[in-house]
Amino acid sequence: MLFNTVEDVKRALADCQYIATDEIATVLYLAEKLGKPLLAEGPAGVGKTELSKAWASATSRELVRLQCYEGLDESKALYEWEYAKQMLYTQLLRDKLSSLLADATSLTDAADRLGAEEDVFFSERFLLPRPLLRAINSDKTTVLLIDEIDRADAEFEAFLLEVLSDFQVSIPELGTIVAKHRPVVFLTSNNTRELSEALKRRCLYLYIGYPSAEEELEIVRLRVPDLAPQLARQAVEMVQTLRTLDLKKNPSVSETLDWARALVTLNARALDNETLENTLTVLLKYEADVERARRVLRRSGGIGYGRSNN
């Protein structure tokens, strides 16, 4: 699929149920054109991971996901030899091997014969490809999502740097594997740790913050079409108010959507006292936050509280 303008990108994403701002669409377009990894930062739950998924389905490419965590290392990210399988094969092939070597005249001859078959044990048959290798070795262009890179150790980041700069991997037993098609790379980070300058330098940077009320409303309408428009507007306004409250954890977009779905399931007509009491915990995950929100909403008359009394 070809994307010639930023608008194309935006439309393709919208078809996959992702509302992209101009900013997001522009940076994504550039990442595609320049062939550079895209580093998306921002608070949790604003759709960083979702973006790569939407892009993969918009371009009908396979999504390869590498979830980072503390202690993630090369063997989990790149490849591993299936040692036990190799061992098992050797054991099972013992008879075959002895028959192969039976008529060898000398020790050297036997060693040569064995050497000729050596590749059998270090072939792709016994190679367990992990996400990075899968993305590089794929026959089609893939979308490689390296999720929450800030959780991985600095060591892993340094390793990733090498892979991302030339998209090739050397496996000592097999040689160097060069990417047939460069994957489109997304990195996401929640900014829990400062990433290294070198990694940042290689990426295009996109900061995704909380959406504006209009954008969020559009997202809710698209994702939860069953929610009555009036109610959707109220819900979004409410969430936007909550975000201004200096809470321990701000409600994210995904939580807004969960809430919207909860409202649909509960068949809510309006955001009245009772509905709010029952569902506020979908949005807010700390008891202190819930308390605080209740206090503030009551004092200000709230969006829903005032109306319910009429």
Partner: protein, 467 residues
Amino acid sequence: MEDRITKFIAALRAEGVRVSVAESQDAWEAITHLGVRDREAFRMSLRATLIKDFDAIPTFEDLFPQYFSLGTPPLMDPQSGLSEEEQQMLQEMLQQMLQDMMEQIKGDLQKLLDWLLNGQTPSQEDLEQLADQAGLNQPNARSPQRAQQYARRMQQMLGWEQMQELLEMLWEQLAEQGMDPDSIEQMKEQVAQNMDRLEDQLSEYAGEKLRDNRVEDAQRHKPVNDLMNRSFGSLSQPEMDQLRDEVRRLAARLRTRAALRQKRGKQGKLDAKTTLRANLRYSGVPFEIHFKQRRLKPKLVVILDVSTSMRPVAEFFLRLIYELQDQVQKTRSFAFVDHLEDVTDDLLTHRIDEAVITVLTRLPAGHYNTDLGGSLRQLEARHLDAVDSRTTVIVLGDGRNNFNDPGVETFGRIGRRARKLIWLNPEYPAQWGTGDSDMPAYAPLCSELYQVRNLAQLTDAIDHILV
């Protein structure tokens, strides 16, 4: 436009945003794809390629409109709506008025009249000249926030107020001469608009001039690199603050380097003993193999001299070491002046800024009372468990003992227990051994010695320690 973008990048750097050459190349490439017509797309191409830190976004958003504004509209020609007769009338009137006022004229009224009444655009030379008169080339003209102020000064140079009086008179007299009131009204309006636009142009010009000055200034100073090589003792307070910020970045760089080394050196050897034992149940066929874990991250014991002369070095050393906590297995820190104290907890429980202050206030520096020998004996008596064969012991001090017993024996015993004994000394080697310095006695016992007069040397030393 190219010039603009280059200037913009220079301005970002002057504001402390780190933009590498590779990144500015990316920016150019991005622009070739999206062009400059669509302002929003242009802004995002620059932002995505140049800015890699959330914190730097405000700086970018602040500077962007200053460099890529839509530009103020050009001046209009207010005489276009006049008939030929009226134009002539106007010209004559002006001539006469200017002659009448000749003696009192200040500033460049003629030029201003041309601009306002004929809609001529001020030329670059005119602006340059005005700017110079208004003091924009002075060395103190640096802050873009003061653009308005300079623009007003430029207006004064042109005789702005006098011009307003003159125009009032002009309108009156034209009316007396019997010019069509509608024409006058129209002209009046357009001249007023021209004045507004000219005002905008002037302040825009002043702003640009000030920004250029500022960038040039920043380029000339290149402050940080310079500071890295200045000795700690000669730094002023603001310079120290600047260096403190720099430490964080340096630490990040050291960390990446150290991490890469860790990664490359991590492959441990085959652990034959464990492998054999684990595979007994497979009748000795090695299904599960075990490797020896190599512990590469050093364990540190730091002994810090925090007497007055050593404080700046000690502070920066502490900052670097604690920024690098994740590359070190364990750190025990001791500080001494006349006696030794374990400060590990102070450093672990506080944020680095507070921690440094806490440690430095807990051990107030007295007057010539440093006693390293005694402190070493205290370490041996109370905290010897901190030192084992995997520990690197680092002493940061000038080795000046105030003629107390240097405790060389004790130092030797600690050194033999440890993996490495490293001394960081801020003094020049030529000064070692002069006066009360016991450095020559300690030196042969150390496995490594570094001179750390400035941050560059300190960073190098720590890089070596982390190997």
